[in-house]
């Protein structure tokens, strides 16, 4: 059993500090040049840059602080770049990490991976594999979406989530594959070919989540590029992050920046369609209502027209006409009668004025022979003894001629 206070037992901090000192007293390690390929390069908002220098067998963590970067004329660092870095080796105690604290960096030309990338890209471009004319339009409303990716990947979950939200009507057929490692390129190509062989797929997404350039490398291999090019079904690529470009991106019919973006590009957003359905339903109802209103109005008009033509209406009209005519007739008759009676009165007056009675009234008399009622106007008409009647104003006087 060890005593905790024995000098032979060190705390982690003590050991770390010791190792750190050991490294820092070594003069060679305090000003050293290391050559390798940059990978996993990240610049934080603080301005500090972190990356790994690697070669075929080993890797070394590197920190390139902002002040050092600004002071040196370092090139813009990117993954795959071959560089020689100058700095000091020390231990980052918190993480127990041996690091190169970089003072300056010299580029050694493009890295091997980057070179291969550029060569393949140039060759395939010359072949016309990236031509715009080769790009096929994506189906507006795919019902089956093929996905080529790893079944375990977070990328798949992300894509399924997007598809479920945007277009739950769709059907997904996963063609599982490795997405990194030596066997990945052939596996990805096979998975693509398999979906084409199956055939019943409208669009294919080839995807992988973010990672280092080595992890994404399978998508820069020629077999993958060829498989995408020969796919009869349009292909969307969604590999890595926004800043990652792979050969697969160039060959694909549509390049999406991430798996999520690829899923978004693959299907329409049904919520907008739902709104359209509602709008159409509304329009239908409005159109039908206005149509019915128009018809009702037309019907009312026709009804009025019909009523005007009905026998009853005619009869009423005739009855009224009859009334009017009768009234007119009466007026006319009255008029005629009054006209006649007027005329009669005139005649009577005239007659009256001519009447002998008037003369009699003035003192004249009419004498008649009783025998024949003849008016006696001469002495020769009567003889003595004839009975005569003398008519005066107020009566008759019977007399005898002497």
């Amino acid at each position: 059993m060890l005593f905790l206070d024995a000098p032979s037992v060190l705390s982690v901090s003590q050991l770390s500090r010791y190792l750190k000192e050991l490294l820092e007293v070594n003069e060679m390690l305090q000003d050293i040049w290391v050559q390798g390929e940059i990978s996993g390069c990240k610049i934080y908002p603080s301005g500090h840059c972190y990356f790994t220098l690697k070669d075929a067998e080993a890797q070394l963590h590197c920190v390139f602080f902002k002040y050092a970067r600004l002071r040196s004329s370092a090139p813009e660092l990117r993954d795959g770049m071959a560089v020689a870095a100058n700095g000091r080796i020390s231990l980052y105690e918190r993480d127990g990490k041996l690091q190169l604290y970089v003072d300056s960096i010299e580029p050694l030309g493009d890295g091997v991976l980057f070179l291969r990338f550029e060569q393949l890209k140039a060759r395939l471009a010359a072949e016309g594999l990236f031509d715009i004319e080769r790009k096929r339009p994506l189906p507006a409303f795919p019902s089956v979406i093929g996905i080529v990716t790893s079944p375990q990947a977070a990328a798949l979950r992300d894509m399924l989530r997007v598809l479920r939200t945007r277009c739950p009507l769709a059907q997904v057929i996963l063609s599982p594959t490795l997405v990194q490692g030596a066997d990945a390129p052939a596996a990805i190509a096979d998975a693509l070919d398999l979906l084409n062989e199956h055939g019943d797929v409208d669009v294919i997404i080839v995807a992988r989540g973010g990672g280092s350039i080595e992890e994404l490398w399978a998508f820069n291999e020629e077999v993958v590029a060829r498989a995408i090019a020969r796919s009869r079904i349009p292909v969307i690529s969604g590999v890595g992050h926004e800043t990652d470009f792979t050969i697969a991106d160039f060959v694909a019919d549509h390049r999406a920046s991430t798996p999520t973006a690829a899923a978004t590009a693959a299907v329409p957003d049904l919520s907008t369609w739902l709104a359209d359905v509602q709008a159409h339903r509304q329009t239908l109802a409005e159109l039908m209502e206005s149509k019915l209103l128009d018809l009702a109005e037309e019907l009312a008009r026709a009804e009025r027209d019909l009523q005007r033509q009905s026998p009853r209406y005619q009869l009423d009209r005739l009855r009224q006409q009859l009334d009017d005519t009768t009234a007119l007739l009466q007026t006319r008759l009255q008029h005629m009668l009054s006209l006649r009676s007027e005329r009669l009165r005139g005649s009577v007056l005239q007659l009256h004025s001519l009447s002998p009675l008037l003369t009699i009234a003035r003192g004249y008399a009419v004498v008649r022979r009783d025998a024949d009622s003849a008016v006696v106007t001469s002495t020769r008409q009567v003889q003595a003894g004839d009975a005569i009647t003398i008519q005066v104003k107020d009566g008759l006087i019977h007399a005898q001629v002497q």
């Binding site: 409303f141 019902s143 079944p151 375990q152 979950r157 399924l160 598809l163 479920r164 277009c167 739950p168 009507l169 769709a170 059907q171 997904v172 057929i173 996963l174 063609s175 599982p176 998975a191 398999l194 979906l195 062989e197 199956h198 049904l270 369609w273 739902l274 359209d276 359905v277 509602q278 159409h280 339903r281 329009t283 239908l284 109802a285 159109l287 039908m288 149509k291 018809l295």
Partner: protein
């Protein structure tokens, strides 16, 4: 109608609206378009409401033919 895809039903719905918009048609025909359109709208709605993303996966069977099997999420 049950055999229509959403897209087909939606296209027919649009056609019904266009036909009704045209206006000059007998009432019976207008009613037909209206009822058909309403049914289609209902159908579209229902499809969306009921829809649930179906996920399957491909596997090569013993004869080397790709077959579709249910996808088991990990």
């Amino acid at each position: 109608m049950e055999t229509l895809t959403f897209e087909e039903a939606f296209a027919q719905l649009e056609a019904a609206v266009a036909a009704l918009q045209d206006g000059q048609m007998p009432l019976e025909q207008a009613l037909h378009h209206y009822e058909e359109g309403m049914k289609l709208a209902h159908y579209c709605n229902e499809l969306l409401q009921k829809a649930e993303l179906r996920v399957q996966q491909l596997r090569v069977n013993d004869e080397g033919v790709p077959v579709v099997i249910p996808f088991e999420a990990e």
